[in-house]
Symmetry: C2
Subunit: 237 residues, 2 copies
């Protein structure tokens, strides 16, 4: 039976902060731990949106590809989506929705899977650009990031709320990606306006954090960062 | 087959910092995830040392008890100990040994299980005192802590090295407890001198972090602490 109470994460946000962008886990391994989630690809090449077991990769041109089982990823979070009674939301923007969810569910200290399907008046995303070796640090890698916007688009928001205690290992607070139903538009969400959407909130009592402990670059990296929070805030929000 | 690559943790150090000392997981559940580890008991009642599947509880009187399967614990870390080639160490103290391990194994970014069996010239421990409701915060709870010392004692050190990135969720760096072979002396280790001991270092590629997400006190707690690191440093070292 599939474990629907655990979010599995390969790699950490701290690894991206110092420029460990090389893939360290094959997609085939990642998918043993979930069918739904978010992440980035080898070489920090774009935004991953994982829906129904398919790993969509939105790259900096805006194009959407699908990763193969052998492709390796440096950082991703997945869980098995468990359908549950959805709440229908109308005419709300992203900021209001997040406040509403936090107030209704009291999940501030927990990991939560977020799944929002529906019609959006506007969806605004960005996509990290592919890097090459020697990799720069995150702050340099994201100085120029293409942004994309669509109006009247149907699709799925996938992502997580994570407790701020785990900031650095992952993104504290909400971290949401989008893929449209046509599978030709998506990315890391900057903001959005809902026309009508079904919101599912899946409490996750476990974080299974996997680290590439035999990777030489991982072993040698200095991940005890002083200004981690500032770097993450400017990078992810 | 037992998973010997994962450290399972119930609760977080941050929960102890704010005074969440009530047990939230039965020992029987904890032991599904390991036979070796450390932790504390319900009401913050002493230091747990888990060896070969037995949960020893060193209480503030210095007495050693054994927890029952139904006893609940607020915070503990366990893993399945996998015997591996041990390194024999002679005439070393705790500080030197930790430096030696860090230099030899390059495990600064990884979770590692530590198991040290042998003869100690001196072992110096402390034990947190049992609290009652309404619970104080950690800093108040540990103002007075009984300390214990024995010379020429044989026994087992059990504990972990954890990456500093996870400080707050757990104790960053080394966190070691001791139980002697007679099972009548132990606690949280302050310092020690090895006569001769066998040191085993078990790399753990996964942290399985479990949270009591349905516990009302956990839900309501403010775990986004500003001075978390300072509180932990003064509490655990």
């Amino acid at each position: 039976m599939k474990d629907t109470t655990t979010v599995y994460q390969h790699g950490t946000l701290a690894m991206l902060v110092v420029g460990l962008f090389e893939g360290t886990l094959p997609v085939s391994e990642l998918m043993k731990h979930g069918d739904t989630g978010i992440g980035t690809a080898n070489d920090f090449d774009g935004e991953l949106v994982i829906v129904d077991g398919t790993v969509y990769q939105v790259v900096e041109s805006g194009e959407v590809k699908v990763l193969a089982p052998d492709d390796k990823i440096p950082f991703a979070s997945v869980h098995f989506h468990q359908s549950r009674p959805a709440v229908t939301i109308n005419n709300t923007n992203g900021v209001e929705l997040e406040h509403q969810l936090e107030n209704n569910y009291q999940f501030g200290n927990s990991f939560v899977g977020i799944n929002i399907q529906g019609a959006f008046k506007r969806m605004h995303t960005r996509v990290v650009p592919k890097q090459s070796k020697p990799y720069p640090k995150l702050s340099a890698a994201i100085k120029v990031q293409p942004k994309f916007s669509q109006e009247n688009v149907t699709g799925t928001i996938v992502g997580y709320y994570a407790p701020f205690l785990f900031q650095g290992a992952t993104v504290g607070g909400f971290h949401l990606h989008f893929i449209n139903d046509a599978h030709d538009f998506g990315g890391h969400i900057l903001d959005f306006e809902i026309d009508q959407a079904e919101v599912e909130v899946q409490p996750l009592e476990n974080l299974l954090q996997h680290l590439p402990i035999n990777d030489k670059n991982f072993q040698a990296a200095n991940l005890n960062l002083q200004n981690m929070n500032e770097e993450i805030e400017s990078a992810e929000h």
